[in-house]
């Protein structure tokens, strides 16, 4: 097929790993040459990591870390500036009864809500590494991704111009499942370019694979590599609008990919499971999986995030249990 020899945009990583004559064909050969995934074995390993017993000081550390790594999210048609202000207040001061509670990493909203979020954050807006809270915006015709590339790019540029620090884009799952890897690749490359700010810097790009629609672990591994090759700063499991969203085996698999990318290039890529993680117990399993797969250095906001909303309050309840010795109840944590 002649189409297969179509040259692709020379994304820097892809050129480094696949060579200068980057084509649809060379990309396909690479993705299809990746080692397969045995589903039974992967799920068994994830279940094994899930049996780790995290107690006392380790649990306290894990709970604080989960908060620091959370992208506190609201992605509803009914979102208003008031709702976003409330979300931001929650992210800045998750537990009014305990000022030692850390802030979340970011708030995650639709692109048009970015100004409201930045406004509400005020001086607290900034890099989570500095104890500040950043703003992530979903873009590219989220959640389906069913729009033309110019629309997706406009969506992205709009959010970046509004001041979004992170862009959470969705891949074109239809193109991926049709085997049209080149299209998915080119779109990521183009969106990455649209993340460029006026000052020359870039908004961080999180690439949502929507693993619940890719269905097989082999597809998840290919899509993860594809997204990284095209320039993703983060690979993210899900929009939260499709079931299943994040699962432990899928996240483990994506962590294995970023670990392998690090082995290959020395470069660290982030991972963000999103959707469906509601309890502290589950979130701690993810923290364990990160530490034992990619390594502890991944447990920082630039390399790992939880996309979640209701998780935060369960973590706060557990945190209160540790400091007071008894369980409180849902009336003792605030709703946003």
């Amino acid at each position: 097929m002649t189409m297969q020899h179509t040259a692709l945009a020379p994304a820097e990583r892809a050129v480094r790993v696949l060579g200068g004559d980057l084509t649809e064909r060379s990309l396909r050969l690479h993705l299809e040459g990746l080692s397969g995934v045995d589903a039974v074995g992967l799920e068994q390993r994830a279940a094994g990591l899930g049996t780790r017993s995290i107690k006392t000081s380790s649990k306290a550390w894990a709970l604080d870390t989960i908060i620091k790594l959370t992208d506190l999210t609201t992605l509803e048609g009914a979102d208003t500036p008031g709702k976003v202000r409330s979300l931001v207040a929650k992210g800045l001061n998750p537990d009014p009864s305990d000022p030692s509670t850390p802030r979340v990493a970011a708030v995650c909203v639709y692109g048009d809500m970015v100004p409201a979020a930045i406004d509400a954050l005020g001086a607290a807006h900034g890099d989570p590494d500095a104890g500040l809270v950043s703003v992530a915006a979903v873009a590219t015709a989220f959640p389906s991704g069913r729009a033309s590339l110019p629309v997706k790019l406009a969506d992205t540029r709009d959010a970046v111009a509004n001041g979004a620090d992170d862009i959470d884009m969705v891949i074109d799952r239809g193109a991926f499942l049709a085997g049209d890897y080149g299209t998915v690749f080119e779109q990521i490359v183009a969106v990455k370019e649209a993340c460029r700010r006026d000052d020359g810097g870039f908004a961080h790009l999180k690439v949502i694979l929507e693993t619940g629609e890719l269905t097989t672990y082999d597809n998840v591994r290919r899509a993860s590599w594809l997204a990284i090759l095209a320039g993703a700063d983060f690979i993210k499991t899900s929009t939260g609008k499709v079931t299943p969203a994040a699962t432990l085996p899928v996240t483990l698999l994506m962590l294995e990919v970023v670990r392998d990318w690090y082995r290959l290039t020395g470069e660290r890529i982030g991972v963000k499971p999103a959707g469906g993680i509601r309890s502290s117990k589950d979130a701690i399993k993810y923290v364990v999986t990160v530490a034992e797969t990619a390594g502890e250095q991944w447990l920082q906001p630039h390399l790992f995030r939880f996309g979640a909303s209701s998780l935060l309050n369960d973590v706060l309840l557990q945190r209160q249990k540790i400091s007071t010795g008894h369980y409180s109840g849902p009336d003792y944590v605030t709703i946003d």
């Binding site: 080692s35 397969g36 995934v37 045995d38 039974v40 074995g41 992967l42 068994q44 390993r45 049996t51 780790r52 017993s53 995290i54 107690k55 006392t56 000081s57 380790s58 649990k59 550390w61 894990a62 870390t65 698999l253 294995e256 923290v287 530490a291 034992e292 502890e296 447990l299």
Partner: protein, 479 residues
């Protein structure tokens, strides 16, 4: 502090109430042994756990006589359905006392609690449930209508899976209508003695299950006893040979489940991350104290460096230490004697030129420990590629083609198990067909199920345990 230094998460010992000393369990009650008693210790701390009686020839005689009486007077007269009821009851009691049994097993054996809790004890219950179901269906066991029990079974089991091996032996024997005298290993008698309590709780007729403790002498007396009709042994090939000689020329039926030197074959098209897990599980599960352990890694030469590199990386995350800590991956070596054997074979491996690498682990002060170890560039003639180490020691060999992999895998006097790792189903079938091993795992390793027969080729023994086939060792065709 590093998060990976997980805070201690010990399982409580309080649930196990050990007596200071244990007698023999004969004819439904506890009696004194007439041999010299011995101590059983925790291999992780060398702490003395309890004093255990030794059965001498006279005690063994009493046990066999009790089993014979129980067979003649009660057990052989019960219907299969009634025998099944007892077995179901035992299975449920094992589940009820699961945590206690798991803690006792980890204390006495040294294996991590996550394994005794998630593997050993659940399988024990599963084995009794499975064979309980067979008890009234023996007509379908493949021996024709009305197969008959053999009589009294003498069963001698090893220390690596004390309670699980007990279940593998007792469940099919009782389902088939036999009565038993079982001798647990001298370093791990505790769970068999707790099982005797379960037998009492289940109200099993006296003498159907007898437990005699002691060392090799007790086992010998039991196996030689003219009153037994069946000998079932799991353990080393050397002892198995002795047993085969002892029973030769007698009417006794024999099942032997002996050593192994399994090949775990990794092809270049294997699902790499899962293969690494499978290699780890194959040889480091239960500290490598597994007769079917994947102790020879046969890896295709073109992926050898990558596999070894990833394997080492993975081994650095294994946690060695207190067997009762829920996060422990690698527990203690069962005895000083076994530790000495692992050390001496490892030293020979090094002397013979293999490249030794051990995972960086802090070795606890007391107890018996051996860090997970890989020997790379091992040749087929190396001692560590031929002899069963029965410890956390992996020998890495390479191959170029499937034919070479098969030849090397079969090049051992053993033939208990093997593993195949490839994404290609046709390759799995083609290779499995040519491997001379009783159990072959594809894209997994060390998985057990009561419905699946287990046993060896060649010097790994004869007879099968588990599944319908496992009944054949305890039955004779009806007339």
């Amino acid at each position: 502090m590093s998060f990976l230094e997980y805070a201690p998460a010990p399982e409580s010992r309080a649930i196990v109430k050990l007596r200071p000393s244990y007698g023999l369990f004969i004819d439904g009650s506890w009696v004194d042994g007439h041999g010299e008693p011995f101590s059983t210790i925790s291999p992780a701390s060398e702490e003395r756990l309890a004093e255990i009686a030794t059965a001498d020839e006279h005690d063994v005689d009493l046990a066999v006589a009790a089993a014979r009486r129980a067979y003649d007077r009660t057990w052989s007269r019960l219907s299969g359905a009634d025998r099944g009821k007892y077995l179901f009851r035992i299975a449920r009691l094992v589940q009820e006392r699961a945590r206690e049994l798991a803690v006792a097993e980890s204390l006495d054996n040294g294996k991590p609690i996550k394994e005794s809790r998630d593997v050993d004890v659940p399988l024990v219950a599963a084995w009794f449930f499975y064979y309980a179901g067979w008890a009234d269906k023996l007509d379908y066991a493949g021996l024709g209508a009305n197969p008959r029990a053999l009589g009294v079974a003498a069963q001698v089991i090893p220390w690596n899976f004390p309670l699980m091996m007990l279940a593998w032996k007792i469940a099919p024997a009782l389902a088939a209508g036999n009565t038993v005298v079982l001798k647990p290993a001298e370093t791990t008698p505790l769970t068999a003695l707790l099982f005797a309590e379960i037998v009492q709780q289940a109200d099993l007729p006296a003498g159907v299950v007898n437990i005699v403790t002691g060392a090799g002498g007790t086992g010998q007396a039991l196996v030689r006893h003219p009153g037994v009709d069946k000998v079932a042994f799991t353990g080393s090939t050397a002892v198995g040979r002795e047993i085969a000689k002892t029973v030769a020329g007698t009417h006794k039926k024999v099942t032997l489940e002996l050593g192994g030197k399994a090949a775990n074959i990794v092809f270049d098209d294997a699902p790499i991350d899962q293969a690494i897990e499978g290699i780890v599980n194959g040889i480091f599960f239960n500290q490598g104290h597994v007769c079917c352990a994947g102790s020879r890694l046969l890896v295709q030469e073109n992926v050898h460096a990558e596999v070894v590199d990833r394997l080492k990386q993975r081994l650095t995350t294994l946690r060695m230490g207190d067997p009762l800590d829920k996060n422990t991956d690698i527990g203690a070596i069962n005895s000083r004697e076994q530790l000495d054997r692992i050390r001496s074979l490892s030293d020979i491996g090094e002397q013979e030129g293999a490249e030794r690498w051990s995972a960086p682990c802090e070795i606890p002060e007391n107890g018996f420990w051996f860090a997970p170890t890989i020997f790379d560039n091992v040749s087929t003639s190396s001692t560590i590629a031929r002899e069963e180490v029965f410890g956390p020691v992996l020998s890495v060999l390479t191959f170029r083609t499937p034919a070479e992999a098969i030849a090397k895998a079969n090049n051992t006097p053993y033939g208990l198990s093997a593993g195949i790792w490839t994404d290609k189903g046709s390759k799995i079938l083609a290779v499995a067909d040519k491997l001379r091993a009783g159990v072959i795992w594809a894209n997994t390793f060390n998985r057990f199920d009561p419905s699946s027969p287990f046993g060896g080729y060649k010097e790994s023994g004869y007879g099968r345990e588990g599944g319908r086939h496992g009944l054949a060792g305890y039955l004779k065709a009806g007339n």
